[in-house]
């Protein structure tokens, strides 16, 4: 919020003034109100391993994160570029594999990747879009520049919090919105539905779209239900769907109804027990054959994991140059791949200063933050890397930018990241901002909700 000279940055001034002139009790009272509302609405996430139906609130911070419009416009351009290149890459690796032939990315990196889906070979998808909903995690370093931390091209979640956080802020602090023009995000469900309808099989006139969820015990069930409700479409579970005569149908009280587009929040491996994991109770037997026949659209497509794998990530800037002939607008965080001997040596030498991640990891699990780790932890990790170097990448520890946040002691700086959601259908669309996650523990860099992170409303201001 402050620049190098300690001055409040211009876009944050309105908010800083408001914070200064509002009595602390009123703010505290509003925070309690927010907690109560979130509980009542049921914006919770299920916690694995807990008693059936156990639910927790994700802490919500009432101080918004503010992004000036020029900064956002630059980001948006970079995000469109990046997602476009990633979709081109996905199309390529399942068709001509030009990028592999050109030697830009090692073939084995792609073809032996766990996320590479042979079933997708030669299959054409509408508008060449594979990742219809992409969540790109960004961090802002203290040099003021944004870096892409990771791409989420499979089933990124969190957008419901973005929407609910905004609704909550408007309800709690209407006066703040009167002070400055905050760009709206409420139309996200409408854009999402438009995107999903746009990728229906071409012969379908008025496509039926559904959200496919693993069920109430999934940690993101709230979001699945929320989005279905907001779009006004059915929330289905695997057993609600069946394949008959080459099409997917859902069982309704008035008989079978054909389904044209499935916004699925289930991993590839569970989608079709006949094609993938036969023990999957979540999927739809025969779905793959209908998909391959072009009689149903899946969003996101199968096999997108090969592009958002952390070992593929270092090649994204090259993809942008290769497919689009442009220079990347958003930078990657410098990344060392432990499978390369030189990189491995360097990583082992500097383990105490680096962040190390599993290539397939997510949710903040299985990572090492060197500067915050104890000696013993570092050594344990060293042994793990040594045993399977290809499973790890390392990055320098960024000095993430912070954002004023309510903590027990009052307002204090806490580290934040940003996940904008990019929708690709016939066109590419995104709502201004995204989900800001905040590490609530002082000095912590881990913002994942499963690790005690919270969220904030994100304002792009004109």
């Amino acid at each position: 919020m402050r620049d190098a000279d300690g001055e409040v940055r211009a876009h944050f001034r309105a908010l800083a003034d408001w914070l200064a002139e509002t009595p602390a009790e009123r703010v505290a009272e509003k925070r309690r109100e927010a907690d109560l509302l979130f509980h009542r609405v049921g914006i919770t996430f299920a916690v694995y391993g807990d008693d059936a139906g156990a639910e927790r609130l994700i802490p919500f911070d009432t101080i918004p994160r503010v992004i000036p419009k020029d900064e956002w416009d630059g980001l948006a351009k970079g995000l469109r570029q990046r997602v476009a290149a990633l979709n081109r890459f996905l199309h390529d690796v399942y068709h001509g594999q030009e990028i592999l032939k050109a030697g830009v990315i090692p073939a084995e990196q792609v073809l032996t990747n766990d996320g590479y889906q042979v079933a997708m070979l030669g299959l054409d998808v509408m508008h060449g879009v594979y990742s219809h909903i992409a969540g790109i995690d960004l961090v802002r370093n203290d040099d003021g520049k944004y870096y892409v931390l990771e791409d989420n091209l499979r089933t990124p979640s969190g957008v419901s919090y973005m929407l609910e956080n905004r609704r909550m802020m408007m309800r709690l602090f209407p006066e703040l919105f009167a002070r400055q023009a905050v760009r709206p995000v409420e139309h996200y469900p409408a854009l999402l539905l438009e995107t999903l309808r746009a990728v229906a099989p071409p012969q379908v006139r008025d496509p039926v779209v559904v959200v496919l969820t693993p069920g109430p015990y999934n940690s993101a069930y709230f979001e699945h239900a929320f989005l279905a409700q907001q779009m006004g479409i059915e929330l289905v579970e695997g057993p609600d769907l069946f394949v008959k005569e080459g099409y997917v149908h859902m069982r309704t009280t008035s008989g079978p109804e054909r389904v044209d587009v499935i916004y699925r929040r289930i991993d590839d491996a569970f989608l079709d027990p006949l094609a993938f994991r036969e023990d999957s109770m979540l999927g739809v037997p025969g779905l793959l054959s209908v998909y391959r026949a072009g009689h149903v659209a899946l969003a996101n497509a199968m096999g997108t994991g090969v592009a958002d794998d952390k070992s593929t990530y270092p090649y994204v800037p090259e993809m942008i140059r290769f497919y689009l002939g442009e220079e990347p607008l958003l930078e990657n965080v410098p990344t060392w791949q432990c499978k390369k001997p030189d990189d491995l040596e360097l990583v082992m030498d500097r383990l105490a200063e680096l962040v190390v991640k599993e290539v397939q990891g997510s949710g903040g699990y299985g990572m090492l933050i060197g500067p915050a780790a104890k000696k013993a932890e570092i050594e344990t990790f060293r042994a793990r890397i040594k045993a399977n170097p290809a499973n790890y990448i390392a990055q320098p520890t960024l000095s993430l930018s912070t954002c004023p946040t309510f903590v027990e002691m009052g307002v204090a700086p806490r580290h934040v990241d940003l996940r904008p959601f990019v929708l690709s259908g016939k066109e590419v669309k995104l709502v201004p901002g995204g989900l800001t996650r905040v590490a609530l523990t002082e000095g912590s860099l881990v913002v994942n909700s499963s690790q005690g992170g919270g969220t904030k409303d994100t304002w792009v201001v004109d």
């Binding site: 009542r40 609405v41 049921g42 139906g53 069920g215 109430p216 239900a225 929320f226 279905a228 409700q229 059915e234 929330l235 289905v236 579970e237 057993p239 609600d240 859902m250 069982r251 309704t252 009280t253 008035s254 008989g255």
Partner: protein
């Protein structure tokens, strides 16, 4: 509406109604035990097991039939799928699975009911406080039905909820009567003594219609009129006729593609209860009439499952 969702809503409502009916049956049973011979007391103790078809299950786990063992089995026994606790748990589980298709008030009512029920100690249902517990169950059921009626959109969710409630209630009223029919039968001419009076009064109370009888008939309690009230009196909301008015209304609003068999049977039952006369029923045999009704109600349930709820 998705078949799975409709199924959950249908059973959510059925289970809640079932819990209420069980509380009613047990309330009456403990009352009846205050009077009568040993043999009559045993009959009265057996009645709840007969009604719920759990006599065998009960004697597998218990050697002796006593009021406390009976009540515990039918209220808090988690192993008995028909116990009040099991019903409340299933009502809540069903609601949990569709909590985004029902109103938050409905979900909160069932959730809170379950949370309270599971921490109720044995002493509260087997001691002298039992009546309070039965009243609490009835209250929660009334609350749930009221909340549902007052908050939910008039659409398929509402229709299937009503269908579940009234099919279950019809089933229960018929069973309740069937178990007691012998008390009503011999007395057509021979109006019984004080003991019979208590039996009839208890039967009426179990369906909250002791006062209703007085209001509607302004007469002494005659068995044939008790049967009239519980079977054919559509002004009495727990009578078979009233239940089938509601079942028919719900079925009228539900649109299905291959539901002719289900609708036909529902309308047949409705017509039977609309045009029957109580004297006729007694001539043909009350027990036979009720057996036929129960069989048809069961069959209607299966047809509803097949037509709408995704049963194969």
């Amino acid at each position: 509406m998705l078949a799975r969702v409709a199924d959950r809503i249908f059973w959510m409502s059925r289970q809640m109604e079932r819990a209420e009916n069980m509380a009613r049956i047990l309330g009456v049973t403990s009352n009846l035990l205050l009077f009568g011979s040993k043999e009559l007391q045993r009959q009265n103790l057996l009645a709840p097991l007969t009604i719920t078809g759990t006599t065998e299950t009960f004697f597998e786990a218990h050697r002796e039939l006593t009021l406390p063992s009976l009540v515990e089995f039918l209220t808090l026994d988690p192993k008995n799928p028909g116990s009040i606790l099991s019903c409340l748990r299933w009502a809540r589980e069903n609601a949990h699975a569709v909590r985004w298709q029902i109103t938050s008030e409905m979900w909160e009512t069932l959730n809170a009911t379950w949370l309270e029920a599971r921490s109720i100690p044995r002493s509260r249902v087997t001691g002298s406080d039992a009546t309070q517990f039965f009243d609490w169950v009835k209250d929660r059921s009334h609350l749930f039905r009221g909340v549902t009626y007052g908050t939910i959109v008039r659409g398929e969710a509402f229709n299937f909820s009503r269908l579940g409630t009234f099919l279950e209630r019809a089933d229960n009223t018929a069973r309740l009567l069937d178990v007691k029919y012998h008390v009503l039968l011999p007395a057509v001419e021979d109006v019984g003594g004080a003991l019979d009076y208590y039996q009839w009064a208890a039967l009426l109370r179990s369906v909250s219609s002791f006062e209703t009888y007085r209001t509607l008939y302004r007469d002494q309690i005659f068995p044939i009129k008790v049967a009239q009230l519980l079977i054919l009196e559509r002004r009495m909301p727990r009578s078979l006729a009233a239940c089938f008015d509601q079942v028919k209304e719900a079925m009228d609003r539900i649109s299905g593609r291959s539901d002719q068999a289900a609708k036909r049977l529902a309308y047949e039952l409705h017509a039977r209860l609309t045009h029957a006369e109580i004297e006729e029923i007694f001539q043909g045999g009350l027990h036979e009439f009720l057996t036929e009704c129960l069989k048809d109600i069961g069959e209607l349930g299966s047809r509803i499952q097949r037509a709408y709820l995704g049963a194969v």
